[in-house]
Amino acid sequence: MNHIAVKNNERLSLTSIPRSDYERFLEHNTALLDDSANHCVTYFGVPEDGKIKLICGIANDNEHNIYLSCAEINRTEILPSFSKHHLAFQVFERELHENFGINFSDHPWLKPVRFAFDRADKDSCIEYYPFYQSDSVELHEVGVGPIHAGIIEPGHFRFICNGEQILHLEIQLGFQHRGIERLFLEKKTLLQRTTLAESIAGDTVAGHTTAFVNLWEALCGFQADDELRFTRTLALELERIAVHTGDLSAICTDIGYQLGNAVFGRLRTPIINFFQQWCGNRLAKGLIRAGNNHFPFDKELGIALKNMLDQYKPDFNEICQKTFRQPSVLSRLEKTGVVSWEQAGSIGAVGMAARASGSERDIRKTHPHDKYINLGHQPVIKHHGDVYSRVQVRKAEIIQSIGYIRDLLMHLPAESREKKELGSPAANSIVISLTEGWRGEICHCAITDQQGALRHYKIKDPSIHNWVALALAVRNNEISDFPVCNKSFNLSYSGHDL
């Protein structure tokens, strides 16, 4: 047995993870990925006794398990790479290289991930990053960013083009790096860590904070009651509706369709205003807390939410019908920015972008938590992998989420009278927490030391995988279609850069 199977949010003693030598570790994990029901949710290194302990987590969608295994290596060893066998590992190995200076003999491209402040090679700087180049006199390069035209986060895009046609896009991120993973260890109070979780990506507050609190409660051996589970599930689904709606608005902007931009944009407003009505913050900061709920969801809020959705839905359907029947809209969305099912699988794409390319991957179904356990969620799948498929997934997921919220509202949780003590984290433990945010799979992983203090904290935003999907999507497209392709993924810079 080369691995141990755990459930989502199940605490495990660190020593129970089977350890093997690196060759067997590699063989085992890359072989697991030959089965398309498996994918890598986390793979990282932890310094231990002068060595690096590598821990790999492979999730199995059918058995709802995560297979954990580990190996110990020296920093100076030159290792054969996992990526040689499966490209989905590429970003994890780049991160290992960047953080610890571990070298791989056959990794395709050990490109810097985010120029973390504690990177191994301090001479490698974001200012002097050498972009991939082509010497051809017929091709030219276009550099965009880090600061973009609109109000969005920074990142650099370097295109190699033949006339108007994109042959290659290289994306360089890291501008947003704030050292979050390290801060999780340095900031000692639970409230500080919760605030950090809320700030990983401000568009995914419910997603990342749910991942954090579920993990923390698992470490503490705390069972969340119905009210807490309700709050998290409702917040996740509201966040999904809000961001998806905003994205439809932004996609309309990028194709110059003003009516869609205005109407989808205004439909997002009551959703985020509802968050404020409920918890005092339009993006749900302050709402989700480990072992505690400050904002009981009462009947009155239930009625307000139901009425709001009753108004939202017909308006939403109407503007969808109008927008997606316009030939001028469809011609910009269909067959633009295609990611095939094979490509999505090979790079380990997750979330709604993967589902738009025919993948079934959705944590709400495969590793359910909170209220999803009883929801019987069926992922929305589209097959063309183009911008229009990503639009259609959003549209269908909005309608699906409205349905889920209506179901949730039928059984409002009783306000918990007796407050259970949260307790403190168990020693020498590891927990992996998976959450399906609106963008896709979020993975948090924590390891505690002998005293139960946090020893390692690892965050994986869905964008980590999906930025590569964007680079593949724009190949052979017109460069003028880049904005709409980019928006159709709407990936996180801060979630990637941490």
């Binding site: 973390a116 969005i152 109070t189 568009d203």
Partner: protein
């Protein structure tokens, strides 16, 4: 065509008529009020995640506060958050709310450069730079221009090029990796130009304060024209703050 008109018609006018007097629905954590009630000061100071609470007298620094509201839950008789969203000011001292007072947050007229109202009162074009921002303030700045808040009606707009801008709006705690791009962008804006810090992360570093991945040196070089507290900023906080800065009006003291 007919359908388009129908849709426009039944959505009706969506903009908030008066951005200075609009009431927010439900709860909102705006300007805090601190009473003179005696409490366990050490416990209160300790619970704040960003060190925003000071002692003797007890105070909250809006430039550090993440508006998590936890202090008010722990000491409900001591601290309450009002729905007053007018939190922006141009001096760091005025960001500090002390116990026993219940005063609006105002701009200090003596600190407003005369060229600001001369050039920008009717038209202000801003370039936004996110320097480690988590995309929450960025989304709210975008919302300032949407059909609900409609900041464009006051001549305030975000523009793509720093060459077209009259000032810069910075979000995020100022990451080291954005230090150079931020400086280049600021240098590209023609004089006279203003600097606005939007959100707690930008004003003080917020929860990231002290992180070795930041480089806040940029802020030591220039006078900051407006601090807009919030996590994220509320669009009405931003719009009112900017209007107070560029228009000579009674909210100055």
């Amino acid at each position: 065509m007919f359908n388009t008109l129908k849709i426009l018609f039944h959505h009706g006018r969506q903009s908030i008529p008066n951005v200075a007097t609009a009431e927010l629905p439900g709860i909102f954590r705006g300007r805090p009020v601190i009473t003179n009630e005696k409490i366990d000061t050490a416990a209160l100071v300790k619970l704040c995640p960003t060190g925003a609470i000071g002692s003797s007298p007890i105070s909250i620094d809006l430039g550090k506060c993440t508006f998590c509201g936890e202090c008010a839950f722990a000491f409900p008789n001591k601290i309450t958050f009002t729905k007053d969203y007018k939190l922006a000011t141009n001096s760091l001292e005025r960001l500090i709310v002390t116990e026993g007072t219940n005063q609006p947050v105002l701009l200090d007229a003596s600190l407003i450069r005369s060229e600001i109202s001369k050039y920008f009162s009717g038209s202000l074009k801003l370039r936004q730079v996110s320097a480690g921002g988590d995309n929450s303030c960025e989304m709210e700045l975008n919302a300032c221009g949407n059909v609900n808040f409609d900041m464009g009606r006051f001549g305030i707009e975000f523009v793509a090029s720093p060459r077209h801008a009259d000032g810069i709006v910075i979000t995020g705690p100022l990451s080291e990796n954005m230090a150079l791009p931020l400086q280049i962008c600021y240098d590209a804006i023609p004089e006279p130009k203003i600097i606005i810090l939007a959100g707690t992360d930008a004003i003080s570093g917020g929860i990231f304060s002290g992180s070795p991945a930041l480089n806040r040196h940029f802020l030591n070089q220039y006078k900051i024209d407006l601090y807009v507290p919030g996590n994220p900023i509320h669009p009405l906080t931003f719009i009112n703050g900017v209007l107070d800065l560029i228009r000579t009006n009674p909210r100055h003291t």
